[in-house]
Each structure stands twice: as C-alpha cells, then as structure tokens.
Symmetry: C2
Subunit: 230 residues, 2 copies
C-alpha cells in the first residue's frame, strides 16, 4: 500500500459566493481522482467562499471578534487567547485568522465545517463521477508540544476515527491503541503539501483505505466530561 499526497493547484483567489466545489472539481481534473481518495481542503478557502470574514481595522477590533467567536476563554497569555469555539474546538484565538486575506479583513471558521465538507463532497463527486471523502483542515496548537499541526475540523464520507477495539496484535494480545484519529493524521499529512507559504489550498490523498461511513469532525472532540486538561 503506497499513499500519495498531491497538491491541488490552479485554483484562483477565492471570493465570497464562489462555487468552491465546482472550482475544486475543475482543479482536481488533472489529478484523475479515484474512488476512495480523500480531498483535503484548507479552512481558509472554505470560509472565504462562504463569506465568513469580517472587517477588523485594528488589533482591538480583532480581539473583539475573537471574543465574540468564543463560547469560552480557557486561558490568556498576552495577545493569545485559548478559546472554546462554538463548534466545540479548543484552539488559539477562536480560529480567527488575519493572514492570507486581502485588506483589513479577518477570516472566521466556517459556521458548520462538517456541513461544508458534506456539500463540497456531494458536488465534487457529482462533477467527477467518483466517490470521495472530504476533510476540511485548520492549523491548531497542542497543549504540550511546540509547533502547529493541521487537524480535521470538517469531515464527510468517512469515519474520522479508526476503531480497533477488539483487534489483536501479532501475538494475539488485544491492542491497547484502540482509537486512531485518522482524519487528523490525514490532515497533518496534507499540510506537508498545503503548507502556509506554498499557496496550495487543497490536496488529494490517495491509497489509504479509510472506514466508510457518515462521520463528522465533531466526533473528534473529546467530551468535556472526559477532558482532564480544560
């Protein structure tokens, strides 16, 4: 099994109201996607197409939007706020982003990234005549590790967690690692080609056999009752 990760190139600058799914289908054409491939789309172009941005002329306006987008503020350090978003994600500054956007605008997370992923998947599948999974990614920090990694904030067409409960290892012993966050691993893999300075907003991952099903990225959120570090 060889997995390949290819950049989806040739997309124009995305603007509010753009039919992103159709544009992705066109851009994917030369890659000849196959049934079972995963289309990974970075959050920013999804948010832009959905018009999820707001004017913010200065730092104070930006801070105000971060607070409005937060369901709760978990920690503050200087200009950084670690927040719980309306979706249930825990990330820096409610995921509100200032880079890669024109003028004095900031980009919010999509209102419902799972729904965005679903809509993109259905339309790309129709356009290309193949069955895909779609993952929408954003770049999040981690509690105890330096550096950021891309994670899945929207999922459609696959289960985001590979459930190995009951599986046994080579020695017949039940596996200790029972739930693998494969959608996050695919998101991280895709970032290697969609990296922030590259200008590539999407990638196609081929060759990985994911569990089919109607999963959602919100399945990846640890329920507050199980969260020991909030």
């Amino acid at each position: 099994m060889t997995i390949t990760i290819r950049p989806v190139t040739g997309l124009p600058e995305i603007r509010a109201g753009d039919d992103l799914a159709s544009m992705l289908a066109v851009a994917l054409g030369p890659l000849a996607p196959k049934n079972g491939d995963v289309l990974v789309v970075t959050q920013k172009i999804v948010s832009k197409a959905e018009g999820a941005f707001r004017p913010a002329a200065d730092e104070a306006a930006y801070r105000q939007i971060v607070e409005e987008e937060a369901k709760a503020i978990l920690r503050r350090r200087g200009p950084l706020a670690i927040t719980l978003t309306k979706h249930g994600f825990i990330c820096a500054n409610s995921g509100v982003d200032r880079s890669n956007v024109e003028g004095e605008q900031v980009v919010l997370l999509p209102a419902d990234p799972d729904r965005s992923a679903h809509r993109i998947r259905i339309r790309v599948e129709r356009g290309l005549g193949v069955s895909l999974a779609v993952i929408i990614t954003d770049t999040f920090g981690r509690a105890w590790r330096r550096g950021l990694v891309d994670v899945a904030i929207g999922v459609s067409g696959m289960l985001p967690i590979l459930d190995l409960r009951g599986s046994v290892d080579m020695h017949g012993r039940v596996l200790e690692v029972t739930e693998v966050a494969i959608a996050d691993e695919i998101a991280a893999a895709a970032e290697l080609v969609t990296g922030k300075a590259s200008g590539v907003p999407a990638a196609l991952v081929s060759g990985y056999s994911y569990p089919a099903g109607e999963g959602r990225a919100t399945d990846l959120i640890r329920p507050p009752a199980e969260d020991m570090f909030r």
Copy 2:
C-alpha cells in the same frame, strides 16, 4: 510536489540486541531510497532492539513500571495515568506498552530516542549510500481531541519544526502560523501505513523537502514555562 508514503516490509520479529539499523537498510533496499527521504520507525521495534522491556506479570507490576518511568504524574483517571516522562514527553502511562510484545513483558520508551534516531540514520545512510532523515514515532493522545495520533519522539537529520517567522503570505502580510511541527506531521502521515493492526513497523516518506539541520525531537516539547495546561 507529490509526497509518497511507503511501508517498509519484510522485517523479522525484532529481539534485544538485534542490529536494527542493518535490518532496516536491508528492508529498505527494494524501495530504493533517495537523498532527502525520511525513514519513519515506530518506537516499539527500537525499544525491542535496545532491550527496553521488562517483565510484568500482572496489572500491579505494570502500574509499578509506569510510576517508575514517570518523572511526574499529571492526572489519573481509573487505570489511566497521564505522565511526564523522563524525556519530557507528556503521554499516557509513561509510554509503557503491553501490546505487540511476547509473553509477560512490557515495552518502555527508548532511553534517548533522539540518540536512537541518530544511530539508525548514520548506519542506514552508510549501508545504502544515501542521505536521509530518521523519525522515531510513538502513539500519543491529545488533551482535547479523541483518538490517538503518531508523533515524533526521536529525530535525526532534519529540523522538526519549520520556522516561517518573517515569511509573508500571498498578500504580503506576515504569516500568523510561524512554527509548523513538521516532524509530527510526517509521523502522523506515516501512521497511515504503519497502523497498529498492520504489523508494518516502518515507513519511507519521499518527496517532502524538510529543513536540513541537527534537530531533536525534544525541540518539540513545549517548555514548562510556556505550558498553560500542565
């Protein structure tokens, strides 16, 4: 730029004292590694080759070893302990693992995974005549997200963090995402082929242009003074 992730197959069961680097070089032969490829090796075979396992006849013995391997216990919930390891990693049960090992043994983390990665790299490079990076991976949980992902616990031949400070986006604006944990992203990508039930203990990642340098996986540990969630 296409990135490929290929399984390294054909390794025998690894035992204490095995010359793992030479065995990896042999197993890599058919994949014809090129300069700049990344060899990803899962922790368990490194620990086994180094003899980093101990007898544990029952749950109490296992718990005792978890405590001994911990520099600090951060949280407990039922049988689960979230610990700070001697290396500085924060993970479940000090990284002590019971699956994929013969008999009543448990496998510890390598004593110095960066050093292990360095030794493997030097010997595989000599054996194959190519220049590589090596990442040793383990499977860790995350504070706020369900499911586990593979991360880098040992690194050699590359910088584990891509530093984009000072880079600008397509609109000339300085990037907000300035440090990307690329070694963790490569580790996560590799898990898609080394998955726990697959029996594949290593992968070769090709086509990614990482920053060369003498990095260490310990560079990925957030310094305690910056840690808001310990």
